[in-house]
């Protein structure tokens, strides 16, 4: 072993250990201090099951909607220069800097009957406020920038020359996108989808203003904490942590496996 220890690296590593501790201690503490029996009891409650299912369902829907709208747009941005492009890119990033309760308020304003959009949707029988659509809308607003930016970076890392060669070899623009651009860039897009999903499942501020019922898991936790206190809200938190971590790890494995398959020879 190297006897000379680099002081800068040593300090950096020690600080890093504090960071890891700061993240991991509360999580593991929550997992280990929750009584197993209460946890099982909680898992059987219909209200809890419903809330967790609503969270997973709406976060997944949000990710799919973000994919359909965001990926083509990200491709457009990655391949075209136009006047005002910087402005458009800044607009995409706005939701990241808006406090989430504020996002909830401004969404509520346009989807309520005060605004023509709310009145229009009401007239065609589409209810946003107080529904799952409301939850997806709130989640989408705060998480979509993550997918667009990840997908854009992924497309930018693919040389347009690959597309040029593909087209000169007879592939249409659509075929080129499918066989070349998307085939190479899907991993970056998947990473963006994981981030979007994670951001959505953890969203609370914007959702609670647009839709309190049906409850998502964070709303249920908040509701129980307010009404009954810490002890009562903790088991639900622990369950949400476990589910989120499991899904997060699974998706990570899929994304990494993609790397392994591509690199194999």
């Amino acid at each position: 072993m190297n006897s000379k220890v680099d002081k800068l690296y040593l300090i950096s590593a020690l600080l890093g250990m504090l960071v890891i501790l700061f993240i991991m201690y509360p999580i593991t503490n929550s997992l280990f201090t929750t009584d197993g029996e209460i946890l099982l009891e909680t898992l059987k409650e219909q209200e809890v099951i419903n809330a967790i299912w609503t969270s997973i369902f709406t976060a997944t829907m949000t990710t799919l909607v973000a994919f359909v709208f965001g990926v083509p747009f990200a491709y457009f941005l990655a391949r075209n220069d136009f006047k005002g492009k910087k402005l458009v890119e800044s607009i995409i990033d706005i939701p990241i800097v808006i406090p989430h309760t504020v996002a909830g308020i401004i969404l509520l304003t346009i989807f309520s009957s005060q605004c023509w959009i709310g009145r229009f949707l009401e007239s065609i029988g589409l209810e946003v406020i107080g529904t799952r659509i409301g939850i997806v809308t709130a989640m989408l607003f705060v998480s979509m920038p993550l997918l667009i930016n990840a997908a854009k970076d992924s497309f930018l890392s693919i040389s347009p020359k690959l597309e040029n060669v593909s087209r000169s070899l007879g592939a249409t623009h659509w075929q080129t996108f499918m066989y070349i651009t998307f085939s190479i860039g899907w991993r970056g897009i998947l990473t963006g989808m994981i981030l979007t999903w994670a951001r959505s499942i953890s969203e609370f501020g914007a959702v609670i203003i647009l839709t309190y019922h049906p409850m998502i898991a964070p709303t249920l936790i908040f509701d129980r904490f307010n009404a009954f206190g810490l002890e009562y809200s903790k088991p639900v938190s622990t369950i949400l942590i476990l589910i989120s971590l499991i899904i997060f790890v699974l998706l990570r494995i899929i994304a990494r496996r993609g790397v392994a398959v591509d690199r194999s020879t």
Partner: protein, 345 residues
């Protein structure tokens, strides 16, 4: 035959201005120009990958100007090869056949290309496991398997080391004589085209300066820029030289060039200048003093200061040692009438 007629295009950082070229079927044509002269842009315009503002591109009598890249049957090989990283070598080569179903005898063409390029043992590998030369060969096979009407080569040798470059050059020559695919290559290196191209065009700042056979352009460059580009080391204003020498008969010969009042230059190749310790038997000669010498093993470069101008001459190393040349040594310097080029500004 490929014709590019009056092609113009403007991008924020670059422009091509009124470019016209004509390339015979089966010909190997080289477009030469310094880095940043719009060569790659012109290739992309011909392939339909960049929109042009004005002009026409005609392939075998058919106007393809408005066709999409996938409808043109033009293959392009980029400087960095642009192999698809998500596919094996074999899939890379066969990629175009997915879309061009009417290529006859694709299977045997695949075998022929793989054999000629010596890439049969690479077929199941992925591009990131290949050397530069190997990637180049795969890119060539991929471009040629679809039987393109034109093959566009973008600086094909610039990323290769000297040895690989020579091998790939030979392979391209071999393949071109076997398949007779009309080829347009762009490069900034004049020496690269000597063994390959039949015809060359010189491009500078988006404008074609000169078109002709290699020999023509090399021997009689028509502008100061082209002269420099093809390695003419000694270029002096005619007025300056005419004061010293009597170039009357030279001017007489080129009378048709010599009106319009534009500035004329005298151009001399460094290898056409003779250096000696005694009087020389050349048409023109003058005395000078050596200001610098350098020797790279293949030839020696000698810079000589004279009253009229500073000359650069190339000598064989043998001659160089024979003459015992050194800095500050006075020498005679001469050249012949037949080696003088009259160049327009």
């Amino acid at each position: 035959m490929i014709e590019v007629r009056n092609l113009s295009l403007t991008l924020p950082e670059f422009a091509l201005d009124d470019v016209s070229l004509s390339i015979d079927t089966g010909e190997f044509f080289a477009l030469l120009g310094p880095t940043g002269s719009g060569k790659t842009l012109l290739l992309e315009a011909i392939a339909g990958l960049k929109d042009i503002h004005r002009g026409k591109i005609i392939i075998n009598g058919k106007d393809v100007t408005k066709l999409k890249p996938e409808q043109r049957n033009i293959s392009i090989v980029y400087q960095d090869y642009a192999l698809f990283p998500n596919m094996t070598v074999k899939d890379n080569i066969n990629y175009g056949l997915r879309f061009k179903k009417n290529v006859r005898g694709a299977g045997s063409r695949f075998d022929l290309l793989v054999e000629m390029l010596g890439i049969s043992r690479l077929l199941n590998r992925y591009p990131h496991n290949l050397s530069g030369g190997e990637q180049q060969r795969v890119a060539l096979a991929r471009a040629l398997i679809v039987e393109p009407d034109i093959l566009l080569l973008d600086e094909p040798f610039s990323a290769l080391d000297a040895n690989t470059k020579e091998t790939v050059q030979k392979e391209i020559k071999k393949i071109h004589s076997a398949l007779k695919t009309t080829t347009l290559m762009v490069t900034h290196n004049f020496s690269e085209v000597f063994s390959l191209a039949g015809k060359v065009a010189i491009i500078h700042r988006g404008i074609i300066q000169q078109v002709g056979s290699i020999e023509e352009v090399f021997k009689t460059p028509n502008s100061k820029f082209t002269a420099r580009f093809v390695g003419m080391k000694n270029i002096f204003p005619l007025k300056q030289m005419n004061g010293k020498f009597n170039f009357k008969d030279l001017l007489e010969q080129n009378k048709h060039h010599h009106n319009g009042g534009s500035q004329y230059y005298v151009g001399l190749r460094a290898e056409d200048i003779v250096v000696g310790n005694e009087r020389l038997e050349t048409d023109y000669q003058l005395k000078g003093i050596i200001t610098a010498v350098s020797n790279n093993g293949i030839y020696s470069e000698v810079k000589v200061h004279t009253d009229s101008a500073d000359f650069t001459a190339y000598l064989t190393p043998n001659r160089y040692f024979e003459l015992e040349l050194a800095e500050n040594k006075p020498v005679f310097l001469g050249f012949n009438k037949k080696d003088i080029n009259l160049i327009r500004e």
